[in-house]
């Protein structure tokens, strides 16, 4: 598609969408967002890029094949679940680490739940891009 407006807009839009998708992923535990929504937004970013510049460019920008993103994401999600076993809990029990926690403040919370959400993010984004790219290339 050769639309100057779309091309110019895409530059801004894609960067914004990708940053926003990660923002949504990270805030998800306490406010609306999360891996699923983040992944959808991230996928939208690349879909817009593919519409404006072609799937070839979009694939280059992604650097790795989208199906690999999806599969690695699934592996990360599984790993997040398995992590609990190493700490003696049942499969998929959330594991938490509070860095710099004090009496009143929980500090920086890191958790296997976040790892799981990152996996979900990658699965959603990778799967949608796999489909979209393949469809667009098929046309």
């Amino acid at each position: 598609m050769n639309s100057i407006i779309l091309l110019a807009g895409t530059r801004l839009l894609v960067a914004l969408l990708l940053v926003f998708s990660i923002f949504m992923l990270l805030r998800g535990h306490n406010t609306p967002g999360g891996g699923f929504i983040g992944g959808l937004i991230g996928a939208t970013g690349f879909v817009v890029y593919a519409i404006a510049c072609g799937t070839e460019q979009a694939r280059l920008a992604l650097r790795v094949p989208p199906e690999n993103v999806a599969m690695v994401g699934l592996g990360i999600a599984l790993f997040a679940g398995v992590m609990a076993i190493f700490f003696g809990d049942a499969f998929f029990t959330g594991q938490w680490l509070f860095i710099g926690a004090t009496e009143d403040d929980k500090g920086l919370p890191l958790s296997s739940v976040l790892v799981f959400d990152i996996g979900v993010y990658m699965v959603v984004m990778g799967s949608i891009l796999t489909l979209t790219f393949a469809l667009e290339e098929g046309v």
Binding site: G33, V47, A70, L78, W96, K106, S127
Partner: protein
Amino acid sequence: MATHGTDDAGKAPWLTVAGMAPVLLALALFAALLQAIPAVSAGESLRFAWDWVPSLGISLSFLIDGLSLIFGLLITGIGALVFLYSSKYLAGHAHFTRFALFLALFMLSMLGLVLADNLLTLFVFWELTTITSYLLIGFDHATGKARRSALQALLLTGTGGLALLAGFILIGTVAGTFELSEIRAQGNVLQDHALYLPILILVLAGAFTKSAQFPLHFWLPNAMAAPTPVSAYLHSATMVKAGVYLMARMHPNLGGTDVWLWTLTIAGAVTAVFASVMALKQTDLKQALAYTTLMALGTLTLFLAADVGYAITAAMTFLIVHSLYKAALFLVVGIIDHGTGTRDVYKLGGLAKAMPITAIAAGIAALSMAGFPPFLGFIGKELKYAGALAVQSEPFLVAGAVLLANALMLAVAGIVSFSPFWRRKHLADDLNAHEAPWPMLVGPVVLAALGAVFGIFPDLLAYSLVNPGVAAILGDDVKPAELKLWAGVNLPLILSLATFTLGIVIYIYRQSLRDRLAAMGERAISLDRGWDRVLGGLKATAAWQTRVIQSGVLRHYLFITFATLFVAVGGTLLARGGFNVDVSMPDMLLKHWVVILLIFAGAMLTLTTSSRIAAIAGLGAVGIGVALIFIIFGAPDVAITQLLVETLVVVLFGVAALKLPKLDPGGEKTHRPLDALLAIGIGVVVTLVLLMVTDGPLDRRLTTYFETASWPDAFGRNIVNVILVDFRALDTFGEIAVVVIAALGAFALLKGRKTEEEKP
């Protein structure tokens, strides 16, 4: 007959990592189990347990008592010998590593099965043996026969496994626990329960398919398509004994009733006699041995029917006797096959000169099989007669069946290991026979020697294994029978002498008997062919219903799906007769009307337009309207997701639409009135259901739980997301796995179509 190049195998290196690792593993496990003997023979049992799924009462618990110790030692001991044997037998085979892996996996599954103390853990290992056995039978996958046999074994034992699972779940609900040791401590709870009969039928369905009891026996002779070491290991010494093990294990909880007694007696007796007759008929050594395995399984079932000390002692002793001689003889047949290239009894003879060690090992194993003193087989046979005369059902019928089976067994022992080696027919020169290399000789020699050693010193076996095994089944109160070579002149001894006479007569007249059996066999109904018909019918039914339901037109699929939904939901509504919903108009704000208008306009556009793009945009408008409803009623997460999915779906559809023809080219709209009717029907039904749902009081228990637990337990304030990634993470994991699979599937379809088009 040999599936491998005899000459190549002779030169290929056999001392490989893939070959030796399973041997060492089996030896290590064997040594570990040996150390349990002192404790177990002193009457203790060792239990190891880890939580697995505690909320469902499933634990990884293992119990070493007399019964599991016998099986465990047989599995690991014979395993080590068979693994060593196959490292030479299949040396240089292209897929040897795969073979060694399957065999080692099988051993571990089987060991897990006999050691498991939890019914569901036992079931998991049970199914693992089914799967590994499938892989091993079908190892020679290039031949159709191996594939058919593997599938047959998988389907039959797999079906039995499903029945078994149902039985185990029933046991779990009746007893309130899945732990075998706890169920056992409850005494006769199962026997007295109303569900006893269904439980018994289901459990025996599993045991009978696995242990190939008549009429579910026919997969076992077919399973001989596997390489000979597999037959020696799985189909004689271990896997087929899993059913026997199960019956022995469940004996305290399911046994002791008339149904148990008669079912096992009849099934066992019929299997034993039928299998012995069939064994006599075979001319392939491996097939003959396969049928004698059936006979042994039948005999074991027969003795497990009873709950008297003699019968159970006989079962435990015969279990060991049979495993020793049968594994030895199968390995010998493998050596004959390896050395001569044939297993046909008519072609073999006079091999003793070329294969002296094999001949002696085979002879000793066969004497044990035939039940001659001073071998363990003799003690086993004496005990069998004593046990048969002690059973509660019909002592003379049982003894008669055992007598007939034993006599036939003696004749088959002669056919399998006397005639190929000692028959005065100098075929050895033509066959270019040679003695097996030592890794292949160790197995038969050790196993045959053990049969002799235990025969001369039966106490070695009695106090270490047999008595604890009997105690594990019958409890400590019942005295097990003594194992001794000379028990004086009594009825069992007289029956033994009768067996020898009858057996030798049958051996001498084997040829004419075989001819008569062959003539009879042609008229008999073949269950194996019946199996083919059943499978064929199943496939035809599947093809028929696929043709009917799946026309390949997407519209028909949607129509069938929605019509089913309409009939099911609407039918339920009608049947329950509950339409009395309050349809009073709620207070509507302006924003509500706007959303409704948007959805309605989108739907109308979709219905009336003839452009695909416009239709998709219309659908998008409907989706956005739904997202707005979510926002109005305070579900931002769902609304965001809905909006994003709607956006992406429009893009995907838009891309796909470029490839599709115009909507409804002229004259193809005949289906639309019917579609409209169905659409309205679905709309009405769904609306009614929704109204009814909102009419009743909402169950807020879950909502309240998540609201209160979300922050303290999962450190998150967004309940939706906390449910997704923490409380219900396993569900989410399943869902994203489906997403990946769907994406990869669609990817393969799209790419596949592309390459097809690119072809000139």
